[in-house]
C-alpha cells in the first residue's frame, strides 16, 4: 500500500491554531494511507493532501466536500469502521483510524449510482408519493429496491458498547459559546460575583475570534482573543469546558453537555446563550461542488488547520465579511480572481480600496449563476458570473472565471435551536432580511450574533448586557443593563438564483433544489411544516441549519405571505446528533436481591425476575422444572418447606387515624380489627377494579403493618400518600419493604420447627391460632409472626429486619433438619396456592375485574360509608354479572390448557384461563378461568380451546384442596 504523505497544502505557523506539528498522525481513508498532524480533523487532514471529495449525497450521490468546516453540515459524513455518519470536519484523526466515505456504489471516486443525478428530472419533489403503487401490490417489490438505496452509513451490528458515563454539575451562570459575546458575558458575570461555567463546542476558546478577520490589517482578532483568554484563564470564578456541546435546553435551565464519553447534566440558575450564527449559502446551480465553501469555512481552514484552501479563488458575498475573507485568502497566497458582491454600492470604501490595492477585481451587483466542474463533479473548476437584473434573476451575459475555490456568504441565521427549545419566538425582520429571537423564558439570556448583533464592539457590549441581567436575577447587582444596537446588515435579501437545469441546492442533506420547495407549495403543501414533511427539507442530519432560511423565503414568496408568517419548522432536541451511548450512559440495571439471595444460589435455585427483584423459581436442575416443582410441592404438603417472601411489600401505618385510614383504603372493615389479629386486605381502584391484596396486621390500636404484592407495593404506597394528601388523616405511612425481609415456613411440621426456636410465645393452636399476629423472639431475632395460609398448610410468615435475613434462614434450615425441611420456590408456591384456590392479583385478575367477578364479596364491607372504589363497586354489583372467575378440573391425561387460552361459548369468547397446573396432590389438572356467567356454577361445563382443539372442563367448587381448611387451621 502506498502512503500519501503530501501536506502540500499546508500553510506555515502561526496558521494552524489546533495543530501540533511535532506529532504526525497516519490514517487510512478509502484504503489509502494519509498523514496529518495531531489536532487535525479528518477533513483538514484530507484537505492538506488536496483531497476534497470525502463523501456522497443522500439522493443523487453527488460528490461532496467540506462546506462549513465546523460540523454544521452533513456534506462530509464518513464511516469510521462500524461507526456511521461521523462528521469529518469535527472528528479528530487518530493513528491508524480507518475512514471511508458514505453513500456510494463501487468506490467513492467511481460511484456507479452517480448517474442518479441525471435522472433528477424524473424524481420531482415527493415523487415516491405518486408512483410505485400501481398496479396493486407492486409497492411490495419497489419498497425493497428503494430501501436498499436508503440510509447513509452502515452500522456494525457486532459493535460492543463502550464505557460512557454521566455527571451532574451546578452553576450560577452557564454561558454557551466562547466567542467575543460569550467571553465578555463570562467575565462580566464572574466579576460580578457569580460562578460561571463557559462551554465551547470547538476545541479552542474564542469563537469567530479564532478564525475570522475583523479588520483590514488582520490584527484585531488575535489581539482581542489573547486579551480575553488571559482574563478568563486568570479568573477563579470561571470554569471553561472546550470540545463540549450543550445539546439541548430543558425546562428550568436543565442543560445536557456532551464532552468526550461523558454526559454532564447541568442545572444553571442563569443561562446565557451566545451560540453565534450560521453563515448561509447562496442558492445557484452546482453550489454543492467540492471546492464551494462558506467564507468562514475557508478562514477556519487557514487559521485553525493551516490549510491553503485553493490556488485560485472567487468570493461570492452579500456582506462585508466576504471582502475580509478575500484579504485573508490573498495574504496566504491564494490568487483571489474576483470578489462578487451581490449588493450594488453597499461596500465601504476602505474595503474596496483594500481589494484594489491587492489587485483583486470587484463585481458589484453580480452573482455566481452556476459553478462549473471537472468531469465527474469532483471539484469546482470555474464559475459563471452574471449581473443581477431583478430579485433572483440574472442577465444573459456570462463571464466565466476559472478557480478551484469558491467562498460564499449570503448572511447569517442565528443558532436558534436551544432558544427555540426554550420557547423563544423567531420572527423575520424584512428590512434586515434576518430572523431574530424574542420572548425568552426567565433566567435565559441571549447575546452576540445569535441576537442579531454583528459588530465586534457591540457584540462584546451585548455579552455584558446579558451578564448584567443574569447578575440582577442572582441579586448580585441591580444596575440597569445598557442598550445595544447594531447598524450592520449582513444578510442579502434574496440570495437565490434558480437555474432551469436545477441542482441549485437549498438543502444539501436531502438534495433538495429551489424548484422542489416551490413545487411542494404548488402541489398544495403551503404551510412550511407541510413543505418540510412533503419534501423532507430540514429533516436530514443537519436539521435545517442551512435550509431553514432559504426555505422560509421561497415558501413565503410562493404563497404570498411574509417570511414571519411562514416561519421555520420547530427546533427540537438535540442540538447536534448525539450517540445513544451518551444518553444511555453506563448500562446500569440494578435489580434487588433479598437478604437470603446467596443462600438460594448455594442451594441451586433457578432465579427469575419478579418486578425488579430476583426470586428462586424452584431449586434444582433448570431442565427438570416440572419434576422439581412437583417434588417441592409434595414436600410442603407432607413435611415442611421454607420460602423466601421478602419481596412482599410492607407498609407501616401509625397514628391515631391509622384504623380509619385502613378502612378507607381497603375494602374490608378494619375499625374493629382486634390487636394481635391479621385480616385479608383487598385494594380496589376508583373504577372498582381489584388491583392489589395483602394481609393487614393490627400491632396496636394505632399501628398497622400491611403487606402488598411484590409488583404492587410501590403503587399502593404512592396511592396511599396521594389519598392522604387529600384526607389529611393523622397517620404516618411508611414503605418498609426493604427494611424487612420475610419467610414463610409451611407444612404440617412447621410448628415443630418453629417451636425449637421460639420460647417467648405459645405457638399451640389455641395460643397462636390461624390468623393470629404476634411479636416473638426467634432465637434472638426480633420477629413479627403472622399465621397465614396462602399455600393451604399450617404456616407462619416470619418478618424480621432485613439485616437478620440470612441468619433467620440459616436458623430455620438448621432447626428444620430434624424434620427434613426443604426450601421451595415461587413457582411451587404458585402451584400450592392454586390447589388452594387462592387468587393472585394481576395473574387471575385483569384490568376490569371487580370483587364480584372474583367471588371476593366476602372481603368487601358494603356497610361502611366509604373505601376507594366503593362507588364504582356499588354500581357494578347492581348490574347483572357477565363473567366469573371459576375453578375447573380436568383428568390428568387430558390436554392441559395454558394460561391465556380462551373459554368459548359457541363462537363467542366468554373468558380465558388465568391459572392452570397439574396438581400432584389431587392427581388431576386444576385451573382458574373466567367463564360466562351461565356456565359458572359447580357442575357446569366450560369449553377451552387448547392448540386449536376444544377441551371440555368441569366447573367445581373452590378450593380444590382441603375444602374444609383443616390443614391450614390445625
Amino acid at each position: 500500500m502506498t502512503s500519501m504523505i503530501d501536506n502540500s497544502m499546508r500553510l506555515n505557523a502561526p496558521m494552524g491554531l489546533l495543530l501540533n506539528r511535532d506529532n504526525a498522525v497516519e490514517f487510512l481513508f478509502e484504503g489509502q494511507r494519509y498523514q496529518g498532524y495531531a489536532g487535525d480533523c479528518i477533513a483538514s487532514a484530507l484537505l492538506a493532501n488536496d483531497r476534497w471529495l470525502m463523501s456522497r449525497s443522500f439522493k443523487y450521490h453527488r460528490p461532496r466536500g467540506p462546506l462549513t468546516m465546523a460540523g454544521q453540515d452533513a456534506n462530509t459524513l464518513v464511516q469510521l469502521g462500524g461507526d456511521p455518519n461521523a462528521l469529518a470536519d469535527r472528528t479528530p484523526i487518530a493513528p491508524n483510524m480507518q475512514i471511508e466515505g458514505q453513500n456510494y456504489n463501487g468506490t467513492l471516486d467511481k460511484d456507479r449510482d452517480a448517474m442518479l443525478g441525471h435522472f433528477g428530472r424524473f424524481m420531482p419533489v415527493g415523487f415516491y408519493y405518486r408512483s410505485f403503487f400501481k398496479p396493486m401490490g407492486v409497492w411490495d417489490k419497489w419498497e425493497g429496491v428503494i430501501r436498499e438505496k436508503a440510509g447513509l452509513g452502515r452500522l456494525d451490528l457486532n459493535f460492543e458498547p463502550e464505557y460512557y458515563d454521566k455527571k451532574y454539575l451546578f452553576t450560577d451562570v452557564m454561558v454557551v459559546g466562547s466567542g467575543p459575546a460569550g467571553l465578555s458575558a463570562a467575565l462580566k458575570a464572574a466579576d460580578g460575583g457569580a460562578q460561571v461555567l463557559l462551554v465551547e463546542e470547538m476545541p479552542l476558546v474564542g469563537g469567530a475570534l479564532a478564525y475570522n478577520r475583523f479588520d483590514i490589517e488582520g490584527i484585531e482578532a488575535d489581539r482581542l482573543r489573547a486579551e480575553l483568554i488571559a482574563k478568563v484563564e486568570a479568573h477563579d470564578k470561571i470554569t471553561v469546558m472546550v470540545d463540549t456541546v450543550c445539546n439541548a435546553w430543558f425546562t428550568d435551565n436543565y442543560l445536557p453537555l456532551i464532552q468526550g464519553k461523558r454526559l454532564f447534566k447541568v442545572r444553571a440558575k442563569e443561562c446565557i446563550i451566545a451560540s453565534g450564527a450560521y453563515e448561509q449559502h447562496v442558492v445557484f446551480r452546482n453550489n454543492d461542488l467540492p471546492g464551494v465553501v462558506m467564507c468562514s469555512a475557508a478562514t477556519r481552514m487557514m487559521k485553525l488547520y493551516a490549510i491553503k484552501p485553493g490556488q485560485s479563488a472567487v468570493v461570492l458575498t452579500g456582506n462585508d465579511d466576504g471582502y475580509l475573507t478575500a484579504l485573508e485568502l490573498n495574504d496566504h497566497g491564494v490568487n483571489v480572481k474576483a470578489v462578487v458582491d451581490m449588493r450594488e454600492g453597499a461596500a465601504p470604501m476602505d474595503l474596496i480600496d483594500a481589494l484594489s490595492k491587492r489587485g483583486i477585481t470587484l463585481h458589484q451587483g453580480y452573482t455566481v449563476y452556476e459553478a462549473l466542474a471537472e468531469k465527474g463533479n469532483k471539484r469546482v473548476k470555474a464559475v459563471d458570473v452574471r449581473k443581477i437584473t431583478a430579485k433572483g434573476e440574472v442577465g444573459n451575459a456570462s463571464r466565466v472565471i476559472d478557480c478551484d475555490l469558491l467562498c460564499m456568504s449570503a448572511g447569517y441565521m442565528p443558532a436558534y435551536q436551544l432558544l427555540c427549545q426554550a420557547g423563544a419566538q423567531l420572527s423575520y425582520a424584512d428590512d434586515l432580511a434576518e430572523f431574530t429571537l424574542s420572548k425568552l423564558p426567565e433566567h435565559l439570556h441571549i447575546a452576540g450574533s445569535v441576537n442579531g448583533i454583528h459588530q465586534l464592539d457591540s457584540v462584546m457590549a451585548d455579552g455584558q448586557r446579558a451578564a448584567q441581567l443574569a447578575l440582577n436575577n442572582l441579586n448580585l447587582s441591580d444596575e440597569l443593563p445598557g442598550k445595544v444596537s447594531c447598524s450592520v446588515k449582513p444578510n442579502f435579501d434574496w440570495p437565490i438564483f434558480s437555474h432551469p437545469k436545477g441542482k441549485d441546492f437549498v438543502d444539501f442533506d436531502e438534495d433538495l433544489q429551489a424548484k422542489d420547495i416551490v413545487n411542494a407549495t404548488r402541489l398544495g403543501y403551503r404551510d412550511v411544516q407541510l413543505v418540510k414533511r412533503f419534501s423532507t427539507v430540514g429533516m436530514g442530519p443537519s436539521q435545517g441549519r442551512h435550509s431553514a432560511l432559504p426555505t422560509a423565503r421561497l415558501v413565503a414568496n410562493s404563497t404570498d405571505r411574509t417570511v414571519t408568517e411562514t416561519g421555520v419548522t420547530t427546533a427540537r432536541p438535540p442540538f447536534a446528533p448525539e450517540k445513544l451511548a451518551h444518553i444511555a450512559g453506563r448500562i446500569f440495571d440494578p435489580y434487588r436481591r433479598t437478604p437470603m439471595h446467596h443462600r438460594h444460589l448455594e442451594l441451586g435455585a433457578k432465579m427469575i425476575p419478579a418486578g425488579n427483584w430476583r426470586r428462586p423459581a424452584f431449586y434444582g436442575d433448570p431442565n427438570e422444572r416440572d419434576a422439581c416443582i412437583h417434588t417441592e410441592s409434595v414436600h410442603v404438603r407432607n413435611k415442611v418447606g421454607l420460602i423466601d417472601v421478602s419481596t412482599l411489600g410492607g407498609i407501616e401505618l401509625k397514628g391515631p387515624d391509622a384504623a380509619e385510614f385502613m378502612n378507607r383504603i381497603y375494602t374490608f372493615a378494619f375499625l374493629k380489627q382486634p390487636v394481635g389479629k391479621t385480616r385479608y386486605a383487598v385494594y380496589t381502584n376508583e373504577h372498582g377494579v381489584v388491583i392489589d391484596d395483602g394481609v393487614a396486621c393490627r400491632i396496636a390500636e394505632d399501628h398497622f403493618y400491611v403487606t402488598a404484592t411484590t409488583s404492587g407495593v410501590d403503587r399502593v404506597y404512592r396511592d396511599m400518600t396521594k389519598w392522604n394528601a387529600q384526607w389529611r388523616l393523622d397517620v404516618d405511612i411508611l414503605n418498609v419493604t426493604s427494611a424487612y425481609c420475610a419467610v414463610n415456613l409451611a407444612g404440617p411440621d412447621a410448628r415443630k420447627v418453629l417451636e425449637t426456636l421460639v420460647t417467648d410465645t405459645d405457638l399451640s393452636p389455641e395460643g397462636f391460632p390461624f390468623l393470629a399476629y404476634g411479636e416473638a423472639d426467634v432465637a434472638g431475632i426480633p420477629a413479627r409472626l403472622l399465621r397465614v395460609g396462602f399455600v393451604g398448610e399450617l404456616g407462619y410468615e416470619i418478618h424480621v429486619p432485613s439485616r437478620y435475613g440470612e441468619a433467620l434462614w440459616d436458623l430455620l434450615m438448621d432447626a428444620g433438619k430434624a424434620f427434613d425441611i426443604k426450601p421451595f420456590g415461587v413457582e411451587t408456591q404458585r402451584l400450592l396456592r392454586l390447589e388452594k384456590g387462592h387468587v393472585i392479583v394481576s395473574q387471575d385478575t385483569d384490568g376490569m375485574s371487580h370483587p364480584g367477578e372474583l367471588s371476593m364479596t366476602w372481603a368487601v364491607n358494603r356497610k361502611k360509608p366509604f373505601f376507594v372504589g366503593c362507588r364504582s363497586v356499588d354500581i357494578v354489583m347492581a348490574q347483572p354479572q357477565t363473567r366469573k372467575l371459576v375453578g375447573f378440573v380436568l383428568p390428568a391425561e387430558s390436554k392441559k390448557p395454558e394460561e391465556g387460552h380462551l373459554v368459548l361459548e359457541g363462537d363467542a369468547i366468554t373468558g380465558n384461563v388465568t391459572s392452570c397446573e397439574y396438581s400432584p396432590a389431587l392427581k388431576q389438572i386444576v385451573g382458574l378461568a373466567f367463564a360466562g356467567i351461565n356456565s359458572s356454577q359447580p357442575g357446569d361445563h366450560i369449553y377451552i380451546r387448547v392448540d386449536g382443539q376444544l377441551v371440555e372442563a368441569e366447573v367445581v367448587n373452590l378450593p380444590f384442596y382441603d375444602p374444609d381448611n383443616l390443614r391450614q387451621e390445625m
Binding site: 461507526d83 456511521p84 455518519n85 428530472r121 424524481m123 420531482p124 408519493y129 405518486r130 403503487f133 400501481k134 409497492w139 411490495d140 419498497e143 428503494i146 436508503a150 440510509g151 447513509l152 452500522l155 456494525d156 451490528l157 458498547p161 439541548a248 430543558f250 436543565y254 445536557p256 404548488r522 402541489l523 398544495g524 403543501y525 403551503r526 404551510d527 411544516q529 414533511r533 442530519p541 436539521q543 420547530t570 427540537r572 438535540p574 446528533p577 450517540k579 445513544l580 444518553i583 444511555a584 450512559g585 448500562i587 440495571d589 435489580y591 373504577h687 372498582g688 395473574q843 385483569d846 384490568g847 364504582s872 394460561e899 391465556g900 387460552h901 369468547i909 380465558n912 388465568t914 380451546r945
Partner: protein
C-alpha cells in the same frame, strides 16, 4: 422506471397546480351541513368517507394549525390489530384491511409496509397475556402467534436475548403488523375529500361551540362564525378541552407521549420490535432512521416539550435490546398528547349534545385506527346518529354503565 415518473420528467413545465394534492385556501362559508373540528387523519378520513360513500360534501374541516399537524404527525406509525378484546380486535382488523388498499384508492402512495410486529415477553405474566392476545387474534382470523426464543432469534438475529438481565421468554409475532408514511395518510384522505368538494380550512381555530336547546347549531372560529347541521369533534390531545366548550365532561386524562429518531443508516431491521417490560419499541423507517418510543410521561400535562429523563431511560433500554445501537446518533426528540381513557379504548359515537359526534380518547392507538374510525364516523353522521355496530362498544356512556373495553394489557409501550 414507473410510467408516472416519466410523465413528470419529460414535461418541462409540468403544471403542478393542475395536479395539486390540496386546493388553495378559500373563504369560510356561513353554513355547512357538517363541520369537522380537527384536520388530522381522523377528521379528514371522516370527511373523505362522507363524500365518497354518502354523497355528503357540504363539509368543512376546521384545523387550528396545519393538516395532519397534531398526533398524525407525531405518532410512530405503527399499524396493528393484535389487541386483547373481541371488540378491539374486530375494530382494528377492519382498519388493517382498509390500510392495505389506501394507496391505490387515493392514487397516492402511503408506503404501507407490512413488516410484522414482534412484542417481547420477559416475564411469565407477559407470556400469559401474549398467549391470550394470540388466541383472540386467531379467533378473528388474524395472523398472530406466540413464538419461542429460537424463533425470535431467527426473526431478529441482532436482538440481545437477555436485555437488562431480563431474559426474553417468548414473543408475540403479529404478522399483520405494519407501518406507513403517517403524513401521507392524512394527505391522501385530504386529497380525496377536497377533490369531492369538501373544504379544508387550515389555521382556523374553533374558539367556541354554539349549543342551543341541547343541540349544536354552529361554531365560533378565529375567522368568524359558522352554522352547521352537525359537528364531529376529532381533536386528539385536546378532546376534553373542546368538549368543555360544548358543555360536557369527558372521562379523559391527557398525558404527553414522547418519541425520538436517529440519523438514517442502511436497513438492518425489518420487523417492528417492542418490549413492554422495558418500555421501549423501535422500528426502522423506509429512510433508514430508527424511531424509538416508550411509555407516556408519568403525569398529566398539555405540553409537547421533551424531557431528558424519558430520553435517558428509553435509550438505555434500547441499547439493552440492541447493544450495537449505542453507536447510532439521535437526531430529534418530540412529543404528542395522548387522551387516555380508563380502559385504554377509544370513545366514538354520540355525546350529551345532539348532533355533536365524538371521535376521541385515542391515547396511543389513534393512527392505526384512522381508516376504520373515519369510515364509521361517516356512517354515524350520514345516518343522522345511528351508531354502527362496530363502534357501539366504544360509546362514551360505557363509563356510566361500567361496560368498559379493557385493552390495558395490549397497549403498554407497543403503540
Amino acid at each position: 422506471m414507473p410510467f408516472s415518473l416519466l410523465k413528470y420528467g419529460l414535461n418541462k413545465d409540468y403544471p403542478f397546480e393542475q395536479h395539486a394534492d390540496l386546493p388553495k385556501p378559500t373563504e369560510l362559508k356561513p353554513h355547512y351541513d357538517v363541520v369537522i373540528i380537527g384536520g388530522g387523519g381522523h377528521g379528514v378520513a371522516t370527511a373523505y368517507y362522507l363524500a365518497k360513500y354518502h354523497g355528503i360534501t357540504n363539509v368543512a374541516i376546521l384545523e387550528k394549525s396545519y393538516l395532519g399537524g397534531g398526533n398524525t404527525a407525531r405518532n410512530t406509525a405503527v399499524i396493528r390489530s393484535n389487541y386483547l378484546t373481541s371488540e378491539g380486535v374486530k375494530f382494528y382488523s377492519e382498519s388493517v384491511k382498509l390500510f392495505k388498499e389506501l394507496s391505490n384508492e387515493f392514487d397516492f402512495n402511503i408506503m404501507y409496509s407490512q413488516r410484522g410486529q414482534l412484542t417481547l415477553a420477559h416475564t411469565d405474566a407477559a407470556v400469559r397475556g401474549f398467549r391470550q392476545r394470540a388466541e383472540v387474534n386467531k379467533h378473528f382470523g388474524g395472523k398472530t402467534e406466540l413464538i419461542d426464543p429460537q424463533q425470535i432469534r431467527e426473526l431478529v438475529p441482532t436482538l440481545n436475548m437477555n436485555p437488562a438481565d431480563m431474559p426474553v421468554l417468548a414473543g408475540l409475532w403479529h404478522m399483520d403488523g405494519a407501518t406507513a408514511r403517517h403524513d401521507a395518510v392524512a394527505w391522501g384522505y385530504a386529497k380525496g375529500a377536497t377533490q369531492r368538494g369538501v373544504e379544508l380550512h387550515q389555521l382556523t381555530e374553533v374558539t367556541d361551540v354554539i349549543v342551543e336547546q341541547g343541540k349544536v347549531t354552529g361554531v365560533k372560529t378565529n375567522r368568524g362564525n359558522v352554522s352547521c347541521g352537525c359537528v364531529v369533534q376529532a381533536v386528539a390531545g385536546h378532546s376534553s378541552l373542546l368538549a368543555a366548550k360544548a358543555g360536557f365532561k369527558m372521562p379523559i386524562t391527557t398525558f404527553p407521549l414522547q418519541a425520538m429518531v436517529t440519523q438514517p443508516v442502511k436497513p438492518f431491521l425489518d420487523p417492528l420490535v417492542s418490549s413492554p417490560s422495558l418500555h421501549c419499541y423501535v422500528q426502522q423507517t423506509g429512510r433508514g432512521e430508527l424511531v424509538f418510543g416508550g411509555g407516556s410521561d408519568p403525569y398529566p400535562l398539555y405540553s409537547t416539550r421533551s424531557t431528558m429523563d424519558l430520553k435517558e431511560s428509553l435509550l438505555a433500554n434500547a441499547v439493552e435490546l440492541f447493544p450495537f445501537m449505542a453507536n447510532m446518533r439521535l437526531m430529534r426528540q418530540w412529543a404528542g398528547l395522548t387522551d387516555m381513557t380508563s380502559d385504554y379504548s377509544p370513545i366514538m359515537g354520540l355525546s350529551p349534545v345532539d348532533n355533536y359526534y365524538l371521535d376521541a380518547g385515542w391515547g396511543t392507538w389513534g393512527f392505526k385506527s384512522t381508516p376504520i374510525c373515519g369510515k364509521s364516523m361517516a356512517e354515524l353522521v350520514a345516518s343522522g346518529g345511528k351508531v354502527p355496530e362496530l363502534i357501539k362498544p366504544f360509546s362514551m356512556d360505557r363509563f356510566n354503565s361500567f361496560r368498559q373495553v379493557n385493552e390495558m394489557g395490549a397497549t403498554a409501550a407497543s403503540h
